[in-house]
Structure formats: C-alpha cells, structure tokens
C-alpha cells in the first residue's frame, strides 16, 4: 500500500468493537474490526487492485474501491474467499442500469438481493436449501451484509438521513442465497440469463419484503400458479416493476411433472397477475402524477381493451372511476421477462416466495455478473 491507511490505533479487541459502534461503522450488529492484515487477506482473494473502483454511484459521485470494499467485507464477517462474490455483486449494483441511488435511499426500503449460481455456491457454502433466507449460514449472512455496510459506510446511506426507508425490513441486513440448481427441473438461472453452464454468477435485484406463497393442497400446475398469480396481483405491491419468484423444490416438482418450462410459467403468471384499473383507483393506487407520466401511463393502459381510448393526461382522473376502467387490465410488470424464476428451499414444504420490486414505478432491472475465478 502506498501510504498508511486511515484508522484508529487500539490495544483491546473488545474496545475495537465498541469503537466501531461509536464511529457509526455498523449496521447495529457487532462487526469484526478491520485490521490491515485481515483486509490484505480479503483483497488477496480477489483479482482487483486495491485502488480499482468496483462501484461508482453517479448521483452523489461516490467511488468505492476494492480496498474500501475489503474493509467492509471484513467488518461484515466475511471469509476472504467470499470476496470475488462481493466484488461481482458491487459491480452489479453499480451497473448504470441498476440506478442504485433509488433503491439505496428511497422510502420504499429496498433490500439488495443477491442470487448466486454456479460452482462457487458449493465452494463457499452458500445455502440454497432449508431456511435459505433465514439465519444459520455464514456466507448468506455476511455477503449481503458486506453490501449493506458498503452502502452505510461508503455511500453514507444512514437510516433517516440518506436512507429514507419508511420502515425497511430485515432483508436489508443481508439477502444473499444460492439457487438450488440440483433441485431445479430447469436450466440454472444464470444460463437462462445468458451465461454458460458452469460459470459462477451473481444476479442482483432491489426487493421489497417477500410474500410466502403457501400451498400444500394441489399438484395441478394451473391451480398452483393461480395462487402465485393472485399473490403477485396483490394491490399493496402492484407496480410496473419486476418480480422474483423462488419456487420451493416441492412446487417446482409439481410443475416439472407436467412438463411446464420456465418460459411457459413466466407467460402464464404475467397473463394472470393483473387487477382492473378500477380496482387500482378504488384502492388509491393511481396517483395524480401517474396520469401525467408517460412511463406510468404506458403501464396502466398497456393492455387496454379495444375501444377504450388512451386518455389524455389528466391528473384529475385519478379518483374518477369510469365503466371503462373496469375493463382495463393492469398487469404486474411489463411482460413475462419481468418475472425471474429460480428454485430454492428445503426438500419438505409447500412454501415458495414472491419478492416484488421496490418502488411504485418501474424500478430497476435484474443485473447478472460473472464471479471472477
């Protein structure tokens, strides 16, 4: 290192943990104080030079170097071998298309979801089976946590200051899991997203809290998927944004038995996850500003019935429900590709999960990046 890194000199390890709290360097849980030796080990397990920028956030012009990422990965409790996954995930959330400033700061309180595919899952022990969203797995708990600490410490997304989450949710501590490729009847998510089989990848998403999709009552693909579509059409989260659906192996098995493929499921769900424009208006989901915003108008009237004229911008129409509004179907998302399907969870149980995008608007896309070897 060219110069001595900024820090605080201490004797007592316990005092070091307390100093990290005093400095505001934690997410509320204790951190592993980052010594130079630990940071060097973290950096050494990735391919990046210390001053290489892994993430540049343009709205506030903040550049996160591999060195600062490594400091935060140590704080998060990561093992050095996790660092390539963390670096790839930071590169993904720093992709200009991800528009990180929104999910990092919005009242919507997005978590940064990281889905891991490929051989790196097993090598690092990233859980894809029982309790994959819950506690018990160091890689799941600390890789996502490293991202959050980068947001807190480097992008200054402090709660109530720059992170204006109205409520937030526990996924903001860490939301990292692997796809259970072995239990999936389909090609891995990474392959569906254009990567080679055997490549390790991360796919990131800005997620609201997940909804359990509970069904032990049917093996029929149509009935099962009706339940998913109903959950996805819930008005609380209905938006033009994307969806992540994590199918439990049991549910995936019901679909595979009848030879339902990924594309067919996506199309089926998109086709049925809708509410009428009248329903949206009755529930106050149509804000006046929607009716002067071309992007949101395009969503609301994307599937309008023949004969219903595309309305001229009129914010006053937000609360005026017409007979035509009963016939206008407003779907979740803009098309089948907005639904990301993957498989994960314990062998037993009919519990899948639907994660809506953060935001009342289009929100941000899925971004997939390769994990460097």
């Amino acid at each position: 290192m060219a110069r001595e890194p900024d820090g605080i000199d201490l004797d007592d390890p316990w005092q070091a943990i307390e100093v990290c709290y005093e400095q505001g360097w934690t997410d509320g849980l204790p951190v592993v104080p980052a010594t130079e030796a630990l940071v060097e080990r973290m950096l050494a397990s990735g391919p990046w030079a210390p001053d290489e920028v892994l993430l540049h956030e343009p709205a506030r012009d903040r550049a996160v170097t591999a060195f600062k990422a490594a400091v935060n990965a140590v704080l998060a409790g990561c093992r050095p071998e996790y660092f390539p996954v963390i670096g790839a995930a930071l590169t993904a959330i720093g992709d200009p298309g991800f528009e990180l400033h929104g999910p990092a700061t919005s009242t919507g309180g997005a978590a940064l979801m990281v889905i891991v595919n490929g051989p790196v899952r097993r090598r690092l022990g990233i859980q894809s089976k029982a309790n994959l969203f819950g506690p018990g797995f160091r890689a799941n708990a600390t890789i996502g946590r490293a991202l959050r600490l980068v947001l807190l410490n480097c992008l200054e997304c402090r709660p109530g200051v720059l992170d204006k989450s109205t409520q937030g949710w526990p996924g903001k501590y860490s939301l990292c899991f692997a796809e259970d490729e072995e239990a999936s009847p389909w090609e891995p998510l990474s392959v569906a997203r254009g990567f080679r089989a055997g490549q390790s990848t991360v796919t990131v998403f800005a997620a609201e809290s997940g909804h359990n999709v509970l069904s032990h009552g049917t093996r029929s693909p149509e009935r099962l998927l009706t339940l998913f579509a109903e959950t996805m059409a819930g008005l609380g989260s209905l938006s033009p944004g994307r969806s992540v659906v994590v199918l439990a192996p049991e549910h995936a098995g019901h679909l595979a038995r009848e030879r339902w493929g990924r594309t067919r499921i996506q199309a089926w769900l998109y086709e049925r996850a809708w509410r009428s424009l009248a329903d949206l208006k009755r529930a106050g989901k149509v804000e006046p500003a929607f009716l002067t915003n071309p992007r949101l108008l395009e969503w609301l009237y994307r599937h309008h019935a023949a004969g219903v004229p595309f309305p001229p911008p009129d914010p006053g129409a937000a609360e005026c429900i017409t007979a035509e509004d009963e016939t206008v179907r407003v779907h979740r998302g803009l098309g089948p590709d907005d639904i990301l399907l993957c498989v994960g969870g314990g062998e037993a149980g009919g519990h899948s999960a639907f994660f809506p995008s953060w935001s009342r608007g289009r929100s941000v896309p899925f971004i997939t990046k390769e994990v460097p070897a």
């Binding site: 820090g7 605080i8 201490l10 980052a34 940071v39 903040r62 480097c154 006046p288």
Partner: protein, 95 residues
C-alpha cells in the same frame, strides 16, 4: 497496538470536480426554473416556493420541469430548458 481501518470515504476524494454554480446576485426580473422529481408532491412543493419568490423578489417567469424517473439524475434533455432560460433553478423532492 493494532490499527483498525476506516471503512468510510470521509478521507477519500470523490471523482467529480464539478464546481458549484455562482449564485445570482439578484432575482428581480429573473426567470426561475423549478425541477421536480416527478412524484406527486414534488411540483406542489416547488410551486409554493415559486409563489414566495414571486412575492419577495419580483421574478418574471417560472419554467417547470418534472423528471419522469425520480431515481436518476436529471437528463440533458430535461435540463436543457432550465440551462437555456433560467438564472437559477430550485429543485426538490416530494413523495
């Protein structure tokens, strides 16, 4: 003695070097821009500010721009009328 390292960017220079624009010396007779984030309450908040500016400083005209995406910086196309026509721009978010 062990040094624990600083995880923040407080001691790090940011990439950008864009200087702050000079402040206008007077607003009387000036054309003022309003740049809202595009959410429902952004422009109403700015309209109140424009009203107060009008009462206090005799501004001559208000140019209004609302972004179509609140999450990203203003685009060049959106900023163009503000750049070309306004002596000063007030921006705000309103949820």
């Amino acid at each position: 003695m062990t040094r624990i390292l600083d995880p923040t960017l407080r001691a790090v220079k940011t990439i950008g070097t864009a200087p702050l624009a000079p402040r206008p010396s007077r607003l009387a007779g000036a054309r003022i821009g309003l740049l809202a984030n595009g959410k429902s309450n952004g422009m109403p908040l700015l309209e109140r500010i424009a009203l107060i500016l009008g009462e206090r400083h005799a501004i001559v005209e208000v140019v209004r721009v609302a972004k179509t995406n609140a999450s990203v910086p203003v685009t060049e196309a959106e900023a163009q009328p503000l750049l070309e026509r306004c002596a000063a721009v007030v921006t705000a978010i309103g949820d």
